[in-house]
């Protein structure tokens, strides 16, 4: 039996020419991107880049100065029972210190008209059942984060917005979060995840949006952004390293010295190997070296005046 997935005409999340000014400060400038169902999108940028402002504009917590941020074409405030459409975990998720985790979720369940049985389900999903009756003031940071995630999952939403979701989680907690996020995407949900932990993001996301100073710097799949304008590079080591470098340059390749190795930019190992064979240079090591997300991020956010670029699909 075959199913037919119908792609929605309107993206589940669409940010269009979003601008937000606080007085004379432009926190977000003419920002546009969208995210797709069934994929995890990493939303990256240095501190003060405008990530949180963008997410808050999307969630109706701040009013855009221009442009729009919508879910299925609707502003957050226009959504009927918003928790069934969107689940959000913001960086400063807070709870009444005297209210237990279970009661916090019960209040949200009543607000969103969800059955009380769903409270027990999400407590189980985040592993907080045993601590559910303790006041939130006694929760560790990781437990608070799990409670925030339980709140976001309560309405079984089709879109998840997660701002720094691994804050306060220990390594097993981070791995759990990664599995949760990937699982949500596998079930067809659109996930937008903002984080400063680039290595962690690199393991979780399908797509990447990078902003700096409120402007879009890059967007595309993770592979496209990591490839950037250089593509995959090749690390090569040889006894006659200087002669190999000259030969590679003579073939028009760009070469960087990296200690005892050469880094040949934008070239696959096969091509480097062919040059070495032709020049009869014995190789000691030959392997591709992918650009790390951190390297891509630093390059893309280093130059304030750099134009935004979009990786072609």
């Amino acid at each position: 039996m075959f199913g037919c997935a119908i792609m929605p005409a309107v993206p589940p999340v669409e940010i269009e020419n979003l601008t937000k000014r606080f007085g004379s400060v432009e926190a977000v400038k003419d920002l546009s991107f969208d995210i797709e169902p069934g994929r995890v999108t990493g939303f990256l940028g240095p501190n003060g880049a405008g990530k949180s402002t963008t997410l808050r504009a999307l969630l109706g917590l701040v009013r855009p100065s221009a442009g729009s941020a919508t879910f299925d074409g609707h502003h957050y405030e226009q959504l009927d029972r918003p928790s069934t459409h969107v689940g959000a975990v913001l960086e400063d998720a807070a709870f009444h210190p005297g209210r237990s985790g279970r009661n916090h979720l019960r209040v949200l369940a009543v607000t969103g008209d969800h059955p009380q049985s769903r409270v027990e389900e999400v407590l189980g999903i985040v592993g907080l059942t045993d601590a559910a009756d303790r006041p939130a003031k006694g929760y560790s940071m990781g437990m608070r984060q799990r409670l925030a995630i339980a709140s976001a999952l309560l309405g079984d939403p089709q879109v998840l917005i997660l701002d720094e979701p691994t804050n306060g989680l220990d390594p097993p907690g981070i791995a759990w979060m990664r599995d949760l996020v990937r699982g949500q995407a596998r079930e067809g949900r659109a996930v937008l995840i903002s984080s400063h932990l680039l290595a962690e993001v690199a393991q979780s996301v399908d797509d990447v949006v990078i902003i700096a100073k409120g402007r879009l710097r890059a967007r595309g799949t993770l592979e496209q952004v990591l490839g950037g304008d250089e593509g995959t590079s090749t690390e090569v080591r040889a006894r006659e390293i200087d002669r190999l470098a000259q030969s590679l340059q003579a073939h028009g390749h760009r070469v960087q010295r990296d200690g005892e190795a050469l880094l040949v930019l934008g070239v696959a190992p096969e091509q480097v190997g062919e040059v070495a064979a032709a020049e009869r240079v014995a190789l000691r090591y030959l392997a591709p070296r992918a650009r790390s997300l951190e390297a891509a991020f630093l390059e893309l956010t280093a130059d304030d005046g750099a134009p935004a670029w979009e990786v072609p699909a």
Binding site: R63, R99, V107
Partner: protein, 243 residues
């Protein structure tokens, strides 16, 4: 709207604050009634009726109402609350109704308790008691005042946002500013929102022979104050960015 109202009432029930304030209001009100009965030998029917207005719940529900909305900023829960209920006007309306209901409930508990204990003490001391009709009349007035002040507290808390400033501010207004204004010009002072307009609903101004606003005017004045603060709070809440 009904879901928001239910959620706000559930919020009230799921912290110890409401229970603590009911206990405090009840304890203080009972103490006041017991002391007044024991320390006074003679009671007219008016004295006995006024005794049952010794309901401290309006003070506590006003504070609770302030905490109901200002506390959302204090505990930084306002973001989550607005994410769950993004229509800020409906959220404010639900809070106002919830705290009005809580005020009426708190006052019902306290007023009935002091009526039972006070009537018992008056009977034991062979002093003048109050009939059922008069007790019922005092009860609805107490309930209405507590409900109105609960609603007003929410609006004040939402407008000022700083819980401590709001609570101290209304206490200063109640116990210092309003009496001063009333002393300077009773015709102006009797419209004051926290002490003197509610006295119009009660039908007397404690410790004076002065005539307060009539009850219908007093109710309208209180609704006017609530409407004013509601409008200011709604405007502030709707236009404010939550960063």
């Amino acid at each position: 709207m009904s879901m928001l109202l239910r959620a706000e009432l559930l919020k009230l029930r799921t912290t110890r604050t409401f229970v603590a304030l009911v206990g405090s209001a009840l304890g203080l009100s009972l103490l006041s009634v017991v002391l007044v009965v024991l320390l006074n030998d003679s009671f007219t029917e008016t004295d006995s009726r006024e005794l049952f207005t010794s309901d401290f719940s309006p003070l506590f529900i006003l504070v609770l109402g302030i905490m109901g909305l200002a506390g959302e900023w204090r505990h930084r829960t306002i973001t989550g609350t607005i994410l769950a209920a993004p229509d800020r006007l409906r959220l404010l309306s639900a809070k106002v109704l919830a705290y009005a209901a809580a005020g009426a409930l708190l006052s019902a508990i306290v007023t009935v308790s002091i009526m039972v204990v006070g009537s018992l003490l008056l009977s034991i001391g062979d002093k003048t008691t109050v009939g059922i009709a008069d007790l019922a009349d005092v009860l609805w007035r107490n309930l209405l005042i507590a409900a109105l002040l609960g609603a007003l507290g929410v609006c004040v808390g939402g407008l000022l946002r700083n819980q401590i400033v709001a609570i101290v501010g209304v206490l200063v207004l109640w116990f210092a500013v309003e009496p001063i204004v009333y002393g300077l010009d009773p015709d102006v002072g009797k419209y004051a929102p926290i002490g003197y307009a509610p006295n119009g609903i009660l039908g007397f101004i404690p410790f004076t022979e002065d005539k307060p606003l009539d009850e219908v005017t007093a109710i309208l004045v209180m609704l006017g104050w609530i409407g004013l603060f509601f409008a200011l709070t709604a405007q502030t809440l709707r236009s404010r960015d939550l960063v």
